[in-house]
């Protein structure tokens, strides 16, 4: 009997994970690499030959449609690229569990995307959350256990909402037998709304949407960098937003008010997270807050209800996984050479690690939305979609939509600011003498970051021809929509050709007249001592100290806006209350019993 390809996408990494429990490290690496390449080939074959769904006892459990195929494709691509980075550089202490968890996570994520039945989705979704937790435990920071607990509580806790949402859907559609997706449930009545918001919580917690985002920056700092690039930057984003697309576009039929609500959440996610990213002193935390901020663009685009913005949102999901993993891995290369990810300790490494610098710069420009990189194209489509929506609504709603647009565009400028600080603090500015003997990153590391940087360029230049036409438009077609006319006009290839022509002309002029002399830094005759150095971390001190931002930043640093901490404080307050009333005095216990009985009687009678 031929094995269904879909089951192979789950079984192959699962078997690799089991075998890797017993193999020596070198064989674990080889097996994982071979297995992942095979998965990539299997995934490619899904584009060519449609595969039948997997049915167990008359119920379809695993199946692949166009949307699932896009998500699966990028899961396999990123898994291979991040594995290339991991081949040399993963801390020897964690290599053994790392190469078990890596394929295991892949199996669970593939399973979750392929699931078309509530129970299998729940199982794979939950297991992928456990893998996320276990990966976090491989970190060696002092705060790692606390972060792992936080991650587990937020992501694992959101699984309760996933269960609730799916059970309610079963109540709403009892004849459906737990089958998911193309249900188009109308949002009317408490049950439908509860189901919608429950599933939304699950998607936001996994993807890192506001206000359930707070595990992402902490995880980014405390887990191994490869795990961060693999999960919160890539696979978890893909899973969370995948569920979000399903909720918004195929599971429910939303009304305009809900679209407006989602767009507002998206815009707020962008701006809150990027404002936090700007003031970070730790490179990984900075990137972690950006991992959240970029989710805002996806929520804004996908949640808007506009087809153009949906395309932009899906494209942004793909783009984000590419440049975000690129940035984490580039920082990882620096971290492995210097032993630190604190921005204040770094600086001037651009000359020592030119390839890593170049690739990180491409990622930084792409995430900031600088043309012609991929990030600009997806943002540009989201903006078009919002304007297209605004055309047809009442003035009040127009202003609301425009505010979302303004926050998104300004969020881009803030992202740029944050990444100029990142690039300056690590690669530019004055290099401390202790880094004078730093060597380049190993081949496997810059190969991984290089491929990701190349994808940022390719997906930017040929956005329409490659990712949009080949991957995203079939999804839109399957949803039953046609693509409307765009408002704007942008030809990235022409932009690059025009820019390149003038740049080359400038270079020819410079080359023709140049008379170069190398000299020391000029400080008006003073010696350029090392402590005359701008760290970059204080770039935005004036913004940090501005009224009323100062109070907000102070509150954020005390974790007043962190849902995990707020919940923790509330639980402790309740516990304290209970502790106070249970003081060991018998007559007080008798009083509680009598009071309890009276309340019960009042309720019953």
């Amino acid at each position: 009997m031929a094995i269904n390809q879909l089951s192979l996408l789950v079984l192959v990494p699962l078997i690799i994970a089991v075998l890797n429990l017993f193999l020596p490290v070198i064989l674990r690496k080889i097996l994982a690499a071979l297995g992942l390449v095979w998965l990539l080939i299997l995934n490619y074959q899904l584009f060519i030959n449609p595969v039948a769904e997997i049915v167990i006892q008359g119920v379809a459990v695993l199946a692949v449609d166009k949307l699932a195929l896009v998500i699966l494709t990028f899961i396999q691509i990123l898994a291979v690229i991040i594995l290339v980075f991991s081949l040399k550089g993963v801390s020897p202490k964690i290599q053994k569990p790392y190469y078990v968890l890596y394929p295991l996570t892949l199996a669970f994520c593939n399973g979750a995307v392929l699931s078309v039945q509530a129970l299998s989705l729940l199982i794979f979704w939950g297991l992928s959350g456990i893998a996320l937790y276990l990966f976090n435990l491989l970190g060696d920071e002092k705060t790692t256990p606390e972060t792992a607990k936080k991650t587990f509580i937020i992501v694992g806790g959101s699984d309760v909402f996933l269960i609730l949402g799916l059970v309610l859907i079963w109540f709403l559609m009892p004849h459906n037998g737990g089958a998911l997706w193309n249900l188009k449930i109308g949002l009317s009545g408490e049950l439908a709304y509860t189901a919608f918001f429950s599933l939304l919580i699950a998607a936001f917690a996994k993807g890192g949407g506001f206000p359930l985002h707070s595990w992402v920056p902490d995880y980014s700092k405390d887990a191994p960098v490869e795990a961060v690039a693999f999960l919160p930057a890539s696979l978890d984003k893909l899973l969370g937003i995948y569920l979000f697309v399903r909720i918004v576009w195929s599971l429910f039929a939303l009304n305009f008010g809900i679209h407006l609500f989602l767009m507002t959440i998206g815009a707020l996610t962008i701006i809150f997270a990027v404002m936090m990213a700007m003031i970070q002193h730790n490179g990984r935390k900075l990137l972690g807050f950006h991992a959240v901020s970029q989710v805002g663009y996806m929520i804004l685009g996908i949640g808007s209800g506009s087809i153009i913005a949906l395309i932009g949102g899906l494209f942004h999901l793909i783009n984000n996984t590419i440049y975000k993993s690129n940035l984490f891995l580039a920082l990882g290369s620096v971290e492995k050479k210097t032993g630190t990810n604190e921005l204040e300790e770094l600086g001037g490494l651009g000359g020592k690690m030119p390839l890593t610098f170049g690739f990180a710069l491409v990622g930084a420009l792409a995430i900031s939305g600088i043309p012609p990189f991929n990030g600009f194209f997806s943002k540009w489509m989201i903006y078009q979609g919002i304007l297209d929506l605004a055309k047809g609504v009442a003035p009040g709603y127009q202003v609301w939509l425009l505010v979302c647009l303004i926050l998104a565009v300004f969020g881009s400028a803030l992202t740029l600011a944050s990444f100029m600080k990142f690039i300056h603090a690590i690669f530019l500015g004055r290099r401390p003498a202790k880094w004078d003997n730093i060597s380049r990153a190993p081949l496997n590391q810059w190969l991984a970051t290089g491929i990701l940087a190349a994808l940022c360029v390719i997906f930017g230049l040929w956005a329409i021809h490659l990712p949009i036409t080949k991957l995203i438009l079939p999804v839109i077609g399957e949803f039953g929509f046609s693509v409307p006319q765009m408002l704007g006009y942008y030809n990235p290839i022409l932009v690059v050709l025009l820019f390149g022509t003038t740049l080359i002309l400038g270079l020819i002029i410079y080359w023709g007249v140049r008379k170069v002399r190398l000299d020391a830094i000029y400080l008006g005759g003073m010696d350029a001592l090392e402590h005359f150095r701008v760290l970059g971390t204080e770039f935005y001190k004036e913004i940090r100290d501005m009224k009323p931002l100062k109070a907000i930043y102070n509150g954020a640093e005390k974790k007043y806006f962190d849902i995990y901490d707020i919940s923790g404080r509330c639980s402790f307050a309740i516990t304290r209350l209970f502790r106070a009333i249970h003081n060991g005095q018998l007559h007080l216990y008798n009083l509680w019993i009598v009071l309890g009985m009276l309340i019960l009687l009042w309720v019953v009678l």
Binding site: P371, L387, G429, L487, G506, I521, L523, E538, D545, M546
Partner: protein, 309 residues
């Protein structure tokens, strides 16, 4: 086809036209500034002499600098400005959408600041790094208001985002500056471009007396020539942008040409007057000014535009 594109890019309205016009308007800036200070000012072609003289000078590069970035930054900035000039010029002179729309131009203007920051930071000089940080903060300060200013013509024209369509709308409905929302947005826009060009009172990143030209401190010879040229090119690009967005574009036939020239020169002269009558303000004051006063005002303009006013 390729020949025409190259002509537009390299000759008119792109590189050569913008560079020559920019150097000439730069002379006007220096001359008017000199009159403000009771000086005679330079001769007409002084900026050309300066540019070509700098091309012949030595290029000094800091030994420990990231040299590729240091060299490429002013040239890439020059290429970005030429690109913006071509896109805006094609709309202004030919009424054609070319290469990109308003969002593309909005992001390309940010790219110029990126080049200033990268070029300045590449040297490791403390003053350059301070200047680079200030350049970024200045961009943040004016960008919010700049986005809002862009939105007014977009909303007024019925959500058009291509320059030629904005011009077509104004040809039918009259210049956008003729409306209350248009006037407010135009004034804020003028202040934004003053900041984008780092002209007084917003010359905070360069602050000669304080941080010795900031990001440009280590630049010399041909690379400095390109930075100077970039600066003068902006004297053409940004006023042209305001002309397209708010003043209904150019009419190049007969007396219309004179009127068009006057519209452009009026913007430039106002910028020069602001430059010469204001001292440099601190970066936190700039942030407060743009975020707490200019941006809310520009937002009111957007609301008025939505209401059709």
């Amino acid at each position: 086809m390729i020949g025409m594109i190259l002509f537009h890019l390299l000759v008119f309205p792109g590189m050569l036209f913008t560079a020559i016009a920019g150097l000439l308007v730069g002379w006007l800036d220096r001359k008017v500034s000199a009159w403000f200070q009771f000086r005679v000012g330079p001769p007409l072609l002084q900026n050309f002499n300066d540019f070509f003289k700098l091309l012949g000078k030595e290029t000094i590069i800091v030994k420990d600098a990231v040299k590729s970035v240091f060299v490429l930054a002013p040239l890439a900035a020059f290429a970005v400005l030429t690109l913006i000039a071509t896109i805006i010029g094609m709309a202004l002179f030919y009424n054609l959408g070319f290469a990109g729309d308003m969002f593309v131009v909005m992001y390309l203007t940010m790219t110029f600041s990126v080049m200033v920051i990268l070029g300045g930071s590449a040297t490791g000089n403390v003053y350059s790094s301070i200047g680079a940080g200030r350049e970024m903060k200045l961009l943040l300060a004016d960008e919010l208001a700049f986005i809002l200013v862009f939105l007014v013509p977009i909303v007024k024209s019925g959500y058009q985002v291509q320059f030629d369509q904005i011009l077509s709308y104004q040809q039918n409905a009259g210049a956008i500056i003729g409306s209350p929302s248009g006037i407010i947005a135009f004034i804020i826009g003028l202040l934004c471009i003053q900041a984008k060009m780092t002209l007084a009172p917003f010359h905070i990143p360069e602050a000669e007396t304080e941080i010795v030209e900031g990001p440009f401190m280590e630049y010399s010879g041909p690379l400095l020539a390109f930075w100077k040229l970039d600066h003068y090119m902006m004297y053409v690009i940004f006023p042209f942008l305001l002309v397209v967005l708010f003043l209904g574009g150019f009419n190049l036939m007969g007396l219309g040409f004179l009127w068009s020239l006057l519209k452009y020169l009026a913007i430039v002269v106002v910028m020069i007057i602001i430059k010469n009558t204001n001292p440099r303000i601190r970066i936190d004051t700039t942030l407060n000014f743009f975020w707490k006063y200019a941006s809310p005002l520009a937002f009111i303009a957007v609301i008025l535009a939505v209401l059709g006013v």
